[in-house]
Amino acid sequence: MTKEAVQLPLPGFDQDFAQWRADYSKQIGADRRIVNRSGIEIKSLYTPRDLDGSAYETDLGFPGQYPYTRGIYPTMHRGHTWSQRQLIGLGTPEDYNARVRQILAAGATAISFLPCNSGFRGVDCDEVDPLLLGTCGTVSNTVDDMDVALDGVPLGEISTAMNDPSPFTLLAFTLGVAKRRGIAWDRISGTSNQSDYISHFIANHMFYRLSLPGSRRVLTDHVAFCLERLPNWNPISVVGQHMQQAGATPAETVGFTLSTALQYAEDCVTRGIDIDVLLRRFTFFFDISISFFEEIAKFRAARRIWARLARERLGAKNPNSWRFKFHGQTSGVDLTRQQPLNNIARVATQAMAGILSGLQSMHTDAYDEAVATPTEETARIALGTQNILREEAHLCDVIDPLAGSYYVETLTDQMDAEILSVIAKIDAAGGMYKAAESGLVQTMIGESARRYQEKIERGEEKVVGVNCYQFDDEEGARKPTERPDLERMKAHIERFKAFKESRSRSAVDSALAALARAAHDKEDNIFARVVEAAGVGVTHGEIVACLRKELGFGRPLIVA
């Protein structure tokens, strides 16, 4: 990538630069070659020579103006701070409810629901050893469960993100609750946070429930349903998190994620959905690693590239369609088990990068997130980090404050080029669906992961407390790990079983039969049948089992 160097008519610039170079070389001693996670070489100094100021209008633009590099809205955080959307999930629905009330009181402005691993697995609470339930998420298998979990939560007013892959039963349960409470569905706002089945197939096998073609069909039906009946719901969240956590570099992550977005857009357009109606409801979900400047450059480049793809490649006409809206989660992969309090500093750094990148909503990890579900105290600290950065560090006062930095702009352009080259590779493979199916993406990610692992093992990439500044673990001082109360969980399972007995068996059977038929009828909408089934008491496990039978069990491709 060549860029016209700005010929500054600054007198003395060249001599002073040469002088600096000479002094630097003399004093630095043994210098090191620094390459960031995306493979881009980082210099020790950037100067006006690195920046082409004339590209402002075409490559940067003002906030809220195409190509949105500086921000998707004119006001950004100064007008409307990011949503503080902390993930919560543990124990029984009652446990979730207690925690969600606390978190709303502590300043969270939106909520997120994380289901139990048994839910991700696609089974109900009575199909699993009770010891394993509710430890990483909340057990929620029916509309009743969701009603308890969201008791006292103003559903029509607050945005709820459901971390639920295909076939999106948690949303179905939420809609059931809304119906019970007389809340019109067009007031329900939030996001299907884990609708990106391709990212699960590639990099988060735990969330992958139905076969690839089955997932494709259910997602498209889900999008069609939501765009029509839930105008305030984002049915697609394209997720970069899993891939980055699996080892994809930040640039690769954006390349793959945008390629996935293109794939979903194509699938929906083929279905007859209008591109502008679709894209205004697209959101993205990314990890924010501790590679501070790299993350900021990554998101700025992503905004620019997405705007261009949406307008030029997908032909969207409405500016709303060109806006790259994203939720960032501080990356748990950078946290350590050793000296866990250090993680507070790590999360603060990652959160700063997220804020300076202009994200729309953020979750900050608790410092013990590497080891267990956060306690009340650690969850409060995590939220406090966001509050401090906003209120005390005044990070929201200036929009895109790092713009114009010789380093940040150069890095943004370099990340842009890397990302485009990844998108080109995926295009050459026939698009993201085919690339994932063939294992190409998994292989690329595996290689990046291996390289990074080797850097850590060689000590080239330093992790405090792990391969440097080690200290005899004071972990013994930790409080005993909190676990959900086993007796209460067993009681919950008993109530669940009793619930199943008390349902109208004929209503359940006929809803499941309709769901099974829909799987083979392209004119029918599978998600609409899921919502109906949930409404008559069909459970999560029953819905998933039915669709697995009709559409195929999701078996990810294991690439060694």
Partner: protein, 149 residues
Amino acid sequence: MKSPRLDPPARVLVTKIGLDGHDRGSRIVAAFLRDAGMDVIYTPPWQSIAGVVKLATEEDVDTIGVSSLATDHLIVPQLVEALREAGLGHVGVVVGGVVPVDEQPALIASGVSAIFGPGASRDDIVEHVAALAAQSRAARDAELREWTP
């Protein structure tokens, strides 16, 4: 002290039981054990305890490595017990992943030979697995010697 390489190579099962599905760590470990000259039988996550016992029997494994994030380690003692009941008590079991410090002693007491956290060195893991495999092999060779008048 390094354990000698076994011939035929050590047969090691790398698996995940319980609910967690994150398999990146277990794939990395399977690759280093292979690079150390072992035959690694690899399964996807969500194996049942009965399934693991069946596999360990059919494959005549020398050692089992269970990868556990989240809370799956809580059912590892059940696995160890099931292995013993099936006559596979000579097969060493190690757990890799994240196990809270306060829950580690119970795991070791149930018969798990070692727990490797996320910072564990590749060499330590390989050496321990090799040592367990050598012990298991030695126990079986001793049995053979008993058969020889």
